[in-house]
Amino acid sequence: MNFEFSEEQNLLREQARGFLQDNCSMKVVRAALEGDEPFNRDLWKKVAEMGWTSTVIPEEYDGLGLSYLELSVIADELGRAVAPLPFSSSVYLATEALMAYGTKNQKETWLPKLASGEAIGTFALGESQGQTTPKNLTTTGGSSVTGTKLPVADGDIADFAIVVTRCDQGDGANLCIVDLNQTSVIREVISTLDPSRSHAKITFNNADAEVMGEEGQGWAATQNIFNRAAILFAWEQTGGSDAALIMAKEYALGRFAFGRSIASYQAIKHKLANMYVKNTLARSNCYYGAWALDTTADELPIAAATTRVAGIQAYYFASKENIQTHGGMGFTWEFDCQFHYRRAKLLSVNIGSESQWQDKLITAVQQQNVA
């Protein structure tokens, strides 16, 4: 049994944590939240220089060609830091989509730039409230795309987007890659619950596009991309959950009421113990997800949904109970508890919410039982 990260991977973790402590403190997150800049360009540049954006990109496209275990370690640490970066959009979604479905030409155009951080990619699915399905997609497209996507995470700063469009054949959808720097694409910044990650409304008016993968197979491709991304999202959620627990613990230890530290009251101790339990379940499931991603195991859909549900639940619980542990101060703008609470919701709804993934999990178990 060797269900653990290697020494080199743990070294990478230490290095990543140290780097983020120095370069992505809560002050940096706050600056992103309060400032006008859509994201921290300087931090993005440094992160790219360290090779984080190129972790799993093959060497032939100027990547490091490392495994998903290394990327998992980085995701864990970025989540812990609530990093104000378009990492999930560009690395977990756009890069993954290109590697899985891009033509040689599309890969050659974008992967080296994604690896160097020079280009940022994103993924555009949602159009309105409620679950997006092939039946209610209104954006159409093949070699050109028309329609509106809202909200697109990091859509205002991205150079290109993978857009899910309606298609009248196959599974009802296409994946289209669209350069966002063209006049037929209009982007408006929108305000969201988590301004440390910017979002946009993107309108495509016959924008030039190319289909990725098979025509009419875009929905299956989207599910596959989301399955892979779900595991990396869950690592960020688990890292964030741990950070929220530590924040709650440190505050409780130092806060005195009725003559003693509130951390000595069972009401608080049990709350923090419950956070620890949920975080541990999420982390152990993340290990499973990382293994499945690394080995492209047949059970990847089960591992993805399991990991995702655990990550969503742990981060929601830890982020809200962290505020509760802080009492009134936790509810103020001045305190940092809000960063986790905001980010928990962003990560939770971005690639399908809890109930969708619960449903996918049971579907995947049913399919495994049939096989």
Binding site: M1, K249, V277, T280, Y288, A290, D359
Partner: protein
């Protein structure tokens, strides 16, 4: 990252599997035997060949194996329909480690091999009516009389007292000392005059536990483990091993059984498994079971590397027991009105959920209640301070009690 054995582990696994398969008692071997006789036969056979309590040193009946080898042996044995040897678990899992740490060499040589072979069964006499979660509040007293101590009082929740040969026991030897400092730890012969054992009927109807009454029971001072007044420290050795040996509800209803039920029961004339609410509930239990499973794999990895598993292993019972309770309750709700029907000869699945529903409250309490487990995580894992204790530093006789 992989789930594979190392070369040494694989060799050990095949050796263990080969021995187990070759020596598993046949139906003819077990014909006409009681469960206890079956357990003793299988345990003795394992001990004679060096496959019992393998982590113990050879001179005490083991083979000096490491922790991961024990896990591998357990996994291989679990694959077979071997006789249930649960009756030995308290003696081997809790009494033996305490004896190994605190007994004399002579005592270890006398008692440990027979614990390993199942020839002698031990029980644990800790809890009392006035000492449950607050175990150190126990009041059964021992008074010195020459080279003996004389015991008077009552123990409770003693599993297997009726068939045990020996018991480990914590007693109050000085009520004028503060709570933890007035305790001493002994082992005694369960057939000693003055011991009376009464089974407790549980709400499930089963009787897994006993009350044990002591009236002027004599135990030799030579059977004291640790110094007089050091009983709490000795008890901690036992308790650390108890938490390792009480698991997360094996045999109780789990995800798979609930999924099977949802496949064959209808809601609104369609299989329940198509209902979104049912799917969400099932998914949550799957996620919990998966989290526990892979937490176990992380611990096994630590053992495999010769390290001590991290604190993450402490969540098993705290997650597993409430999960089984909720799952059993949910499954019976799915059965609607029929969920309440008890029929021992009826549907096996209904019996499983009903049985779990009625027995699982005990697992949430045994070996540390959910609340105590949460305290342990908060204090030992997260490093939070202990609660304020009004009984600290005052003589035990001055501590307020419930009666």
């Amino acid at each position: 990252m992989d789930f594979n054995d190392s070369a040494e582990e694989a060799t050990f696994r095949s050796e263990a599997a080969a021995w187990l398969n070759a020596n598993l008692p046949s139906e003819a071997d077990l014909d006409g035997l009681t469960d206890m006789q079956k357990a003793k036969l299988w345990q003795k056979r394992k001990a004679d060949a060096g496959w019992a309590c393998i982590r113990w040193p050879q001179e005490y009946g083991g083979r000096g194996a490491n922790a991961i080898e024990q896990v591998i042996l357990n996994q291989e044995e679990a694959k077979l329909a071997a006789p249930n040897v649960g009756v030995f678990s308290i003696g081997q899992g809790m009494a033996a480690p305490t004896m190994q740490t605190w007994a004399t060499e002579e005592q270890k040589k006398r008692y440990l091999p027979k614990l390993a072979s199942g020839e002698e069964i031990w029980c644990q006499l800790f809890s009392e009516p006035a000492g449950g979660s607050d175990l150190a509040a126990l009041r059964t007293k021992a008074e010195k009389d020459g080279d003996d101590w004389i015991i008077n009082g009552q123990k409770i929740w003693t599993s297997g007292a009726q068939y045990s040969d020996f018991g480990i026991i914590v007693l109050r030897t000085d009520p004028n000392m503060p709570k933890h400092q007035g305790l001493s730890y002994f082992f005694l012969d369960m057939k000693s005059p003055g011991i009376e054992i009464k089974p407790i009927k549980q709400m499930s109807g089963a009787s897994g536990f006993n009350e044990v009454y002591f009236t002027d029971v004599r135990v030799s001072d030579a059977q004291r483990l640790g110094e007089v007044g050091q009983g709490w420290q000795v008890a901690l050795t036992t308790l650390m091993n108890e938490r390792a040996s009480i698991g997360g509800g094996g045999g109780a209803a789990g995800f798979k059984t609930a999924m099977d039920l949802a496949n064959r029961i209808n809601i609104d004339d369609k299989p329940a498994i198509e209902d979104k609410h049912v799917r969400a509930q099932l998914a949550n239990w799957y996620v919990q079971e998966s989290g526990l499973k892979f937490t176990g794999y992380r611990s096994m990895t630590a053992l495999s590397k010769g390290e001590i598993p991290g604190p993450e292993n402490s969540i098993g019972k705290l997650v597993g027991a409430p999960k089984s309770q909720d799952l059993a309750s949910f499954a019976m709700d799915l059965m609607e009105q029929a969920g309440i029907v008890l029929d021992p000869d009826g549907d096996e699945m209904a019996n499983l959920f009903q049985g779990t529903y009625m027995s699982i409250p005990g697992l949430r309490i045994a070996g540390g209640t959910d609340e105590i487990m949460a305290n342990i995580i908060a204090e030992r894992v997260l490093g939070l301070p202990q609660d304020v204790r009004v009984d600290k530093g005052i003589p035990f006789t001055d501590v307020p009690t419930s009666n």
